[in-house]
Symmetry: C2
Subunit: 309 residues, 2 copies
């Protein structure tokens, strides 16, 4: 039997990278020959967590079938978010917290999905169920992912289970979750080294809405003014992206992780519909969105309703 | 929030009916307003188990969206095996032990699938994980399903986990699993009251294989001679089914649950290919298949290989 490769989604975030590490470790304790890999380099937030807990980043791959015939997916299931050749191998395990779509198998498999804020919250429960002790540095990576996915428990995607898992994992990792978590989130907001084209593509997804093709990017900051100083160049890049890729409207959500206020920059055809979706109006061409931190729960749904009516 | 309906697949077997009952009970203990229903009447094996443990059969429905907007699926996930209008409601929970196919959701959900012999084996683990006590009569229904799906642990689909769950459940239910299990399986083999058209459709599925459209039905017996006395009428019904539904070849697998020997009746175009798949030849027009009890693991795979080469 070939080695089991364990990996998260493309453009990996902290949960995608660390859940591959924590699940591969768990599977090894259960007797599987498993290796964590990643479909991309860690971002600066993830790198902060890896450095803090003395772990090297997983080996980066883009395809897997030349070295194995069986894999475990974490933090994703949809084929277009996975390894380029995932359909050539057998998916034997999935641990995830997203919807299920564009996914099918020929054989029964192990599939564990729960509607919680973070994959590592589910993995924490699995360690307990199997009675496997969590090493200190792995606990540290797991709590880092929960902090990242829930924006330190502020996101509406955060559940009581995420808070309980993070509390127990922080105890094992011997960290103060609030102070460590804030430093880690801040490490991910160092945007000064990135070009405008990179910034609007760091964490961006396309959403068809009614007859519109909507692009929504999100960037976390601790000071939105620093980013808004580059507003003209950002809007130029967004217009270019619309022209190149055929997006009708591009929304960049700049989320202040300290105040939980997002600022929206919008470029394209449907400026008024976007403002109406959030029941607000433009102030100097910007949308101010207090309390909005989750694209999945607070940005996509109201836009979907506005565009489809 | 509307009531959660919990149900197994169409043409329900013992696992489909009882896993709806055992999961609905578990969900109720966890605070959900859940009701077990079924997509058909229980068969005679299932009715034996329900009578023995003093439970009434779940209410039969074929569609669900007129009475709820959220459901839990057990022992299946594929849309064509489910309620006729399952795509109009939100699937919030799935507990299953099959491949995942023809299934997708708009939102994150609870999905628990493991490659074990029976859905109730997974539910047994979940009761333990949540620390919920299993009532005696529910334990009895759960062990009945494990006996049914694994043919009293003889099927190659049976895992160590199924055996451990059944042993513990039999203790709670206060039964001797071997003697009870055999009586229950025998109750399901009372075929004398059924017409030939009913017999070949009791547990039948279609499988595209290469360019062939293969129909494979399975019937459990304690005495194959009783059924083979009706061979001519059975073959007539199989020919009729081929003509009506466009099957190229119909295979009826008659499985003796006492001896673990199956007898194959074949009607249609590809007689020689079917025999070759099992490395055997016809004896008086019958295939004798010692040790073959699982359609999923021992019938479909060799046929797939034979037809696709």
């Amino acid at each position: 039997m070939s080695k089991l490769l364990v990996f998260g989604h493309q453009n990996p975030d902290t949960d995608a990278i660390t859940s591959a590490i924590s699940y591969a470790y768990l599977l090894k304790q259960l007797g599987e020959e498993a290796e964590a890999v990643a479909l991309g380099e860690p971002n600066e937030e993830t790198q902060y967590a890896l450095n803090y807990f003395n772990r090297t980043a997983p080996r980066v791959v883009s395809s897997v079938s030349e070295e194995t015939d069986r894999v475990a997916l974490v933090d994703h299931n949809e084929v277009q978010q996975s390894a380029s050749d995932v359909e050539k191998v057998e998916v034997q395990y999935v641990v995830d917290h997203h919807r299920i779509a564009n996914f099918q198998t020929a054989n029964p498999l192990f599939y564990r999905c729960e509607p919680v804020g973070c994959t590592n919250t589910i993995l924490f429960k699995m360690y307990k169920e199997y009675g496997i002790e969590i090493p200190k540095e792995i606990a540290g990576l797991m709590v880092s992912a929960i902090v990242s996915d829930t924006l330190l428990f502020k996101s509406p995607t955060c559940t009581q289970q995420d808070i309980e898992a993070a509390t127990e994992l922080a105890r094992i990792a011997e960290i103060d979750v609030n102070s460590y978590g804030l430093e880690m989130l801040k490490a991910g907001t160092n945007l000064s080294t990135k070009s405008e084209a990179e910034l609007i593509d760091l964490d961006a997804k396309s959403f068809p809405m009614g007859s519109y093709n909507m692009r929504i990017a999100q960037v976390n900051v601790v000071d939105e003014q620093e980013l808004l100083a580059r507003r003209e160049a950002l809007e130029f890049s967004m217009k270019e992206a619309n022209a190149t890729h055929g997006y009708d409207t591009f929304l960049l959500v700049v989320t202040n992780i300290l105040t939980s206020v997002s600022t929206g920059l919008v470029v394209g055809e449907a400026l008024e519909t976007v403002a109406k979706a959030f029941n607000t109006e433009y102030e100097n061409g910007l949308l101010i969105l207090p309390g909005v931190v989750s694209r999945k729960k607070q940005v996509v749904p109201p836009l979907t309703v506005a565009f489809e009516n």
